[in-house]
């Protein structure tokens, strides 16, 4: 039996040699597939609003940072598994996510919108410009009713594990045939292929796609915020990492006061999306 113990020990030690432990370095996880929040350029380097904001925050924090790529559907488990220490991936602060992790204060906000291909029967919906679902006023309820009848039985495509999926499944717009995809790219592909009657995601994600692909994607209906869509986008941190949480909150305050967030937001979104 001694040889078994030795083998197990050797195996683990070799993992240690191949792996490494970083102390004092902050690792930030991002998806790299959700422009303009985060994406990759032609050479594969991570770029985007959050990538630039992350470097800025790290400057204020004064620590060395590393940005790690992670698939969206494994984002929170990867954080808990200590693959990285913070999430900056366009992740909105929702009550559900807060059951598993903590969030810093919000640093930017996005509004969601439905998108269709030009010529779709869903174009020209009679709704208000934008609705906030936290306060279900009469106008909000009226718009939700319009949407329910317009989307009844239709197929709407979303990225999996997003606030957009949550909204469609919340019943606020009745029974919709929801299709979930691993990445926003796949949603866009199937929208363009005509497999989806509509798609739901951040409004900027669709305008970015329309611009880069030249496909006739148009936004329809009101822009959504609040309610199932959460309260802005924040940095995701493990629940027991209270020190890191405070560090990030302080840095966000500094960045906001110095106008960094607004500046970077205008550069990537074309408007000030900061909170």
């Amino acid at each position: 039996m001694n040889i078994f113990k030795k083998t197990i020990l050797t195996v683990i030690l070799s993992f240690l040699l191949i792996g490494s432990a970083y102390a004092g370095k902050i690792k930030i996880g991002t998806e790299g597939a959700y422009p303009p929040w985060n994406s990759k350029d032609a050479s594969g380097k991570l770029i985007g609003f959050e990538v630039e904001l992350a470097w800025t925050l790290c400057r204020y924090i004064g620590e060395q940072c590393e940005i790690v790529e992670q698939d969206w559907d494994g984002m929170i488990p990867a954080l808990i598994m200590r693959k990285f220490d913070a999430i900056m991936a366009g992740m909105s602060i929702t009550a559900e996510r807060q059951k598993a992790i903590s969030f810093s204060q919000g640093y930017a906000d996005e509004v969601a919108s439905l998108a269709v291909i030009k010529g779709s029967p869903l174009e020209g919906m009679e709704t208000s410009e934008g609705i906030n679902l936290t306060k279900k006023t009469g106008a909000v309820k009226k718009d939700l009713k319009t949407l329910t009848s317009a989307l009844a039985g239709k197929t709407v495509c979303v990225q999996t594990a997003t606030i957009h999926q949550n909204f469609l499944e919340s019943g606020d717009v009745g029974k919709v045939n929801v299709r979930t995809y691993k990445t926003q790219d796949e949603v866009n592909l199937d929208l363009a292929a005509g497999r989806c009657d509509a798609a739901l995601a951040a409004a900027v994600a669709f305008s970015d796609y329309a611009e880069k692909s030249g496909k006739p994607v148009v936004l329809v209906g009101p822009t959504f915020s609040g309610g199932a869509f959460g309260n802005g986008v924040g940095v995701g941190i493990r629940k027991d990492d209270t020190e890191l949480l405070n560090t990030f909150n302080k840095a966000i305050n500094q960045a906001r006061n110095n106008g960094d967030i607004s500046r970077i937001a205008i550069k990537w979104f074309g408007f000030d999306a900061s909170m």
Partner: protein
């Protein structure tokens, strides 16, 4: 065709490295699988009911559950388990295990279950007379295993091991969850970036076919070498 060019604009070089990565992961996984069968094959053949049960559970579960689930389970639970084991030995820092190891071990676990079955079958079909002859001649267990049994077992095992290799090679397409950049993931990235999935996934299929073809040639040579003298 310019999409495949090497250098900045084309995806040729990324796909080339991805292919190398696929080969590397497959080989590593296959070897890790052999390590697993080294442990589990004797357990399967032993007379001890408990050891038997452990080994049978391993092969039955891993071969009966979809690879995607095994990979996911290992990826999300594996590092936690390893860190737990390491903490027993007194190491409390968190361990970062890179994607290559994670992916290879995940596939290695699957490959090992199939290899275990292959080796078990091969050893069982060796004429019992061989074992008896060795015992009669007074050879020590380790000696007769390596010098007499193993060469015969390998000859019988190689055709089936080539099947396991094919399975392992194709299973590497499923480890994109670990973030490792092998053929499938690179094609996925390229398809997304150029919005041309048909071209890149078809090309990925071509790459896999190439690997299959080359593997078959090499394995045929191996079979020939080990069949000499029979």
């Amino acid at each position: 065709m310019e999409l495949l060019a090497f250098g900045k604009t084309g995806w040729g070089d990324e796909l080339f490295y991805a292919t190398l990565m696929t080969i590397a992961v497959s080989i590593t996984a296959m070897l890790i699988g052999f390590l697993f069968s080294l442990i589990f094959t004797p357990l399967k053949l032993s007379n001890n009911k408990i050891l038997n049960f452990i080994a049978n559970s391993y092969t039955t579960v891993i071969r009966g559950v979809p690879e995607l689930l095994v990979i996911y389970l290992f990826f999300f639970g594996g590092s936690g388990a390893i860190m737990y084991v390491a903490s027993i030995f007194g190491y409390f820092e968190y361990i970062e295990i890179n994607a290559f190891i994670t992916g290879s071990v995940a596939i290695g676990i699957i490959s090992g279950a199939y290899s275990t079955e292959v080796f078990r079958g091969a050893i069982n079909s060796i004429d019992k007379g061989q074992f008896e002859a060795c015992k009669v001649l007074g050879f020590k267990k380790y000696i007769y295993f390596f010098k007499v049994i193993m060469p015969q077992m390998l000859r019988l095992a190689i055709p089936n091991l080539s099947n396991v290799w094919q399975i392992t090679l194709k299973d590497t397409s499923l480890i994109s969850v670990t973030g490792l950049v092998e053929i499938m993931r690179q094609s996925y990235i390229a398809a997304g970036s150029t919005r041309d999935p048909l071209f890149f996934y078809s090309f990925a299929a071509v790459l896999y076919l190439m690997l299959t073809f080359l593997s078959m040639k090499l394995i045929n040579k191996l079979e020939y070498k080990y069949s000499r003298g029979f």
